[in-house]
Symmetry: C2
Subunit: 578 residues, 2 copies
């Protein structure tokens, strides 16, 4: 491709609304343009990268035995009513009426459609397993779309759905996808990590997120320096505390109220009473699927509400509002405690609260706390369990090794759905004994357009993008500095043709621009390999070759160029682990 | 691909709602499934064909110098308000409100979005011409979606938009696309014809439709047996009539009223008066952009309202309703005539009315006609022009050769838009003299999913689809009749691998089905080449090769198979003109 005829409108300045580096660089490199909030045009360079990601994903999906289909974007509401999600999904589901007034939505995901498709066709266990996928445009009406392709409303996703006849098959389908994802991300050339993720009501270890590691990531990953353990913060187990259960220690002095006027926060109360936060119990009130519950954690810990929701066994969790707190505690917010709480509220306590005793907590009375609290003596605890967020000082829950926190961008998710959709939608098959059973499903997503953004978040410098060669808009850029020197131009043309004939994805900067402009734009767009030919180089029989990732420049001889180029190219791919 | 693991659920019966053959066969062959009215899932086989069409189109677009982009499906209403189409487009434009209540639509076409994209970036004539295209899912809320992929609501389209600095460039862009379309359709292997189409207010010869020829087509094409002339019926010029203008012949007897009680139609009046329909003038009243106009054609001719609209120079034409007819003629419907019509209504007459005189026409009076009408003497004719629909008995308007009518399916359209959008949206550039000018646009569409349906409409028989090898779901199907004969199965596996290694797109029917089922399904799906291996064949060292299009069967030797297969394959492609 000759850049003189190419549509890649670069920008000198960062756009005002771009907060993250991938958004800035995608705009500046002429890869995307905003149409409206959270909705982007993909320009030729951007689409090339997206298509390369899609093609790698497609190849690995095909290799895994999954089959590509394409489902519609516009979906009838009736299917969503069958699963209950029409009411449950919230405003991210963009609802539409057609000219006849019928209800539809723009598909944010396709569980309903695929289940409907399959239930019409699959009748027997002999037709299972199957795994169908698509690469398709999705729409989610995010309340605050931002960060360019990182959190858009319209975006490109690969979504796959597996159907199995039994648990064993479903697990196998799950791990087949897990391996296919690992291969795909490895081929894309990004540093990534599969991490354990919350699997909600399904339970088990059948939910993993694939994280591209980047300092700018929104997600936090807890991983072990010694073993393979890695988990999303909301999922990461906390190791059981050392020490025996101490709840029923009867040497604790009797419960005693202390006045703590106007002291609401952990910090205020601990300062006032001159105790460390680790001696205080935080009592947090939630509503899970409509029912109030209380959760206790140490004052210096953070409650993990996903763990609480899973423990209670609900779908939906939210903090109790002020009115409910007052109703349940007979006190303003800030003075809830486990002793004397409304007895209809079950109390769940973090596991480490059982190895200590003699606590300070709220008194369920305005401006008052209690001390000498014994959980065994003074309250009824429904269950002690792992309820808090892991901390870097915690030991690895699997090997007791050292934990580290890193940041990541979620670009893939594999998830065992079980029979959640197939039961509601009556997607059944006849098993070996002629008995109708719901199919066991899994769903597997990859954010195709998001991967391009996350590649930039992970790989960039002050001059622009550093794309891995597997997904760069062009793998190589030939830059001619010939100006009016026809001999240089001729040679550049020759090299361009020669490399193109090798099957290399190359572009040729034949524009009448100053060398500085050409260099800057090549770095901005982030072609992994840049070949620079000028009058002096031609005279000396060399072309300068620059590795965008390492910045390293070497000279390739024009004589025997092809071999030298191929060798260098292999080395550059190698720098990306490819 | 092994069919034992493939998802291609065929049907034995035609679906009840399928009216046309492509809809029936796409459903029966397991290529598509309906989600809801006019919205389909593309199953693996169907998607393969669609992707092959898309890839051929993409390659020819790239070769022509156009660049691929991808624009959003969800478009903001504001852009459509700029061009006035938000109000004008009608109910096919599916309108949406997002969570914040802002207006959007689902893109039925992308003139607004592309013009918005380009106006932000193109500043100078030096950046022109450019041509940007996309292959994308469109939505048109058809009032009565039908015929499967032929007239769906959600469908896949290639749309391209060119931008030029002057007329000459715009014409060149137009003809470049015209040639690219010819190449693409030729490579797809369909019998097609580019035909002149109506170019509305733009005028000139800058609108062509590409028609796939099929008896079941909804469009009628008038083409010349002797020369290259071919046009959509609504566009086809009618040759000038022979003979001199005879309007002012003053030998015609004086105008005379005749009573024609209850005679409304041409047939009734002519029967009653015992005259041929060619002696009567039909007077038709229309409203063009809000203004009434009258059009005259001979009683045995059909008015072409597109020609009338273009002659008057309007955007929108509709028949006058009964009330307006009464108001303008002072008579019930059926008695309008050019003499004595409300003088504010301009009268346009078909060109052939000028070479004859002494007509019968309506009298603008109930139950009354006039005879001895002379258009020159008795009325004021605004203009004589070509206003009627061509007939098979008409001579070719270009070479006077014989005209024939054929049926076609529109699968492509090239159109010069001029400055219609760029003026309204202020998409201007600075020309060589620093003067701001609107870019001159063209738009070019190909119905990608529709091509697959039209390929079936053109090529099928009582057993199923006959796909051209270029776009068949698989080019070759190996059918093993081995049953439990391991030697046959092994040989079939070997052939399958061997052909796959040649880079041929092949599937292998390794299912445990009866031979009859395998043959029937292979014909139904329409693989262009079928290779059948059974025990007897293996013993005799041959494999049976069937050409789906011609039905011809030959025997290929297992010894030296590769060469024999390649020779046969070349011949089969040749049967498709490929």
């Amino acid at each position: 491709m000759r850049l003189s005829k190419y549509y890649a409108p670069t920008l000198k300045e960062d756009p005002a609304d771009a907060e993250v580096v991938s958004h800035k660089l995608l705009m500046r490199a002429g890869m995307i343009r905003k149409l409206t909030s959270g909705i982007y045009n993909y320009l030729p360079l951007g689409l090339r990268s997206i298509n390369k990601v899609a093609q790698i994903v497609r190849e690995e999906m095909d290799r895994s035995g999954a089959m590509e289909v394409l489902m519609p974007m516009v979906q009838p509401a009736d299917l969503w009513r069958e699963t209950g999600r029409w009411d449950y999904y919230g405003k991210e589901l963009l609802r539409i009426n057609d000219r006849h007034g019928r209800d539809y939505c723009l598909g944010p995901t396709h569980e309903e459609v695929i289940t409907d498709l399959v239930r019409g066709e699959i009748k027997s266990y002999k037709q299972l397993p199957i795994n169908l996928y698509q690469i398709q445009t999705k729409f989610r009406d995010e309340i605050r779309p931002r960060f360019g392709l990182m959190r858009g409303r319209e975006f490109i996703m690969k979504d796959a759905y597996s159907f199995d006849k039994d648990e064993e098959g479903a697990e196998q389908s799950y791990w087949t996808m897990f391996e296919a994802y690992k291969k795909a991300f490895a081929r894309i050339g990004l540093r990534f990590k599969p991490v354990q993720a919350d699997s909600g009501a399904i339970g088990g270890d059948f939910s993993h997120e694939f994280m591209v590691l980047a300092e700018t990531g929104e997600d936090t990953i807890a991983s072990c320096k010694a073993c393979e353990f890695a988990a999303n913060l909301e999922k990461a187990k906390v190791a059981q505390p050392k020490g025996l259960c101490n709840c029923d220690d009867d040497s604790v002095p009797a419960l005693e109220e202390v006045e703590t006027p106007g002291k609401h926060t952990v910090e205020e109360v601990c300062d006032f009473l001159s105790i460390p936060a680790s001696r205080l119990i935080k009592t947090l009130l939630f509503v899970v699927d409509g029912n109030p519950v209380a959760a206790l954690v140490r004052g210096d810990r953070e409650l993990n509400d996903v763990k609480l929701r899973n423990l209670v066994g609900g779908n939906d969790i939210e903090m109790a509002d002020e009115a409910l707190v007052k109703k349940l505690t007979n006190a303003p917010v800030g003075f809830a405690g486990p002793a004397g709480l409304n007895p209809e509220v079950p109390i769940y306590a973090d596991q480490e609260l059982c190895v200590e005793t003699d606590w300070v907590a709220g008194a369920n009375k305005g401006d008052t706390h209690v001390r000498h609290l014994s959980l065994g003596r003074d309250c009824t605890i429904e269950k002690f369990a792992d309820l808090r967020v892991i901390e870097p000082t915690d030991p690895c829950p699997e090997c007791a090794g050292e934990i580290e926190f890193t940041k990541g961008i979620e670009v893939g998710h594999v998830f065992k759905l079980g029979v959640k959709y197939s039961e509601k939608m009556e997607a059944t098959f006849l098993d070996e004994n002629g008995k109708a059973k719901p199919m066991i499903m899994g769903c597997y997503g990859i954010g195709v357009s998001r991967i391009v953004a996350s590649a930039i978040e992970q790989n960039h410098d002050e001059n622009g993008c550093c794309f891995p060669p597997s997904i760069a808009p062009f793998e190589v850029c030939v830059i001619s500095l010939g100006g009016k020197d026809q001999a240089v131009t001729d040679k550049a043309e020759e090299l361009y043709s020669e490399i193109k004939d090798l099957g290399v994805d190359i572009c040729y900067d034949d524009r009448k621009e100053r060398p500085g402009v050409k260099f800057a734009e090549a770095d901005l767009i982030g072609y992994p390999m840049q070949l620079v030919l000028g009058g002096k180089g031609l005279k000396n029989g060399i072309i300068e070759a620059k590795n965008r990732k390492t910045g390293e420049k070497i000279e390739l001889p024009l004589e025997g160029f092809k071999e030298a180029f191929q060798e260098w190219r292999t080395a550059v791919w190698g720098d990306w682990g490819l």
